[in-house]
């Protein structure tokens, strides 16, 4: 019997939860705020869905029905991607060691 591809995706999902668990526990508490902003930025990888939606079947017109939602999602996700990574970078730049 063949295994449903869904099971593979589920396996990836569950293993990633475990990876996330161990990786996040090793994050130093002083960096918890950058952790939140960077997780926020990477969760905007949802933009791949938005791009697919926006570019789906644009033969007749670029802006129609479901494509519009795709374009809206692209703007939202793009705000997050740029905002999230840049603000994380800005914060991390501030963490400095004692000058010897």
């Amino acid at each position: 019997m063949e295994i449903d591809p869904f099971i593979f995706r589920l396996s990836i999902f569950i293993l990633s939860i475990f990876v996330g668990y161990y990786v996040v526990w090793s994050v130093t508490p002083s960096l918890h705020t950058p952790l939140m902003s960077v997780t926020n930025a990477i969760s905007s990888v949802i933009i791949v869905g938005a791009i697919i939606a926006a570019l789906a079947d644009t033969s007749s017109s670029v802006f129609q029905g479901s494509n519009i939602f795709g374009f809206l999602a692209i703007i939202l996700a793009a705000v997050n991607i740029f905002g999230g990574f840049l603000v994380t970078q800005r914060m991390l730049q501030m963490y400095k060691k004692k000058k010897k």
């Binding site: 990633s16 926020n40 990477i42 933009i47 705000v79 004692k98």
Partner: protein
Amino acid sequence: MSANLSALFYLISGILFILALRGLSSPETSRQGNYFGIAGMTISIIVTFLSVGNFGPGFIYVIVFLLIGGSIGAFIAFRIPMTAMPELVAGFHSLVGLAAVFVAISAFLKPGAFNLGDLGNIKLASLIEMSLGAAIGAITFSGSIIAFLKLRGIMSGSPITFKGQHIINLLLGVAIIFLIYYLCRSQSSNIFWSVIFISFILGVLLIIPIGGADMPVVISMLNSYSGWAAAGIGFTLENTALIITGALVGSSGAILSYIMCKGMNRSFFNVILGGWGATDQTSNKEDKEQKPVKNGNADDAAFLMKNASSVIIVPGYGMAVAQAQHALREMVDALKKNGVKVSYAIHPVAGRMPGHMNVLLAEANVPYDEVFELEEINNDFANCDVAYVIGANDVTNPVAKSDPQSPIYGMPVLDVEKSKSVLFVKRSLSPGYAGIDNDLFYRDNTLMLFADAKKMTEEIVKSL
């Protein structure tokens, strides 16, 4: 680009995202980690363009919209003051939530584009995944908006409770599951819209009963939700990068919520059900005003600290409100010139989001190796001459250790009272968020400095 090849590239992005979080285990590696994250995102976007392969007029618009959103994001990222970080993160969560909803909607309206079947005949598993993604996304969106309004001060931070609240939430939750079940049977778009609509309402209702100081838990929780929403969409799109990211973000938010709850010695449900501390605020006001308090000024404080050999600073939310971190840093510099050893003690729930105080201190150029977490520094209070409490209250209250009746009993607190003298910068004797009186105010070794945190610290700098 073939589907297999792009799947491999998405896997690479997923791994880069794992490395991005891994980098945060220490400040030295963190910047590199952030670049891994950016690389992962870039790969994902380029691979998506190549695998869709539509470079017609639509592509130009996608780039234009990407740049519009990107410049808004960049503008915000550079302009936002560090004290506003909690509301920024809440606002960003709402965007992820709404983006998830939009993607789910377009997948529902045009399933063919995502290989999910046809409109009205979407594959069952995909339908469940997309409606769960949309529902969680909608809850994340409206919940984060409420959190944002509360943090920004547009909406009052006090809990909004009414009778039957939890039952209504429960019913709405059940209704969502019930509707998704019906959606799978009928494929009706009206039901799909209802799922999203009810989820928006549920998101609002879930967050309004939670008070201002519980915001660290709320933000972490919404962080987690945004991850689960992304994972739901990832399953729909059969996209590994999105599934991995969703799982990472989901577990990250969950762990942060757990750490925050533990920092308050409260269960997750206790926080979520909300309404803490609203009751006993007025109960024993009478005997409070009777007790004598030692009142000091900036010169007393400066004298005490100048002659100390070690000082521990305990910052709290009040420091953020007063924007006192830079003045504090100046004070510490002056003390160091006098040969005083200074360190900072941070309680896990100080501030309005996890790690809030650390970022503010970093902004004021405080080296991170002078900043310590509760477990690392708590034993040092016994050997320290002066504890300078600035804008913190409940997290120093010894009652949490001594009085089993107290609502904060069992909460880990900083042992400030063990130091030879305590300087407590506060505007008045009013109780903190938990609504309980702080014993520390009336101790013999406590000197109260009644003033705005920033003004007082600046005055101390002057008299040093």
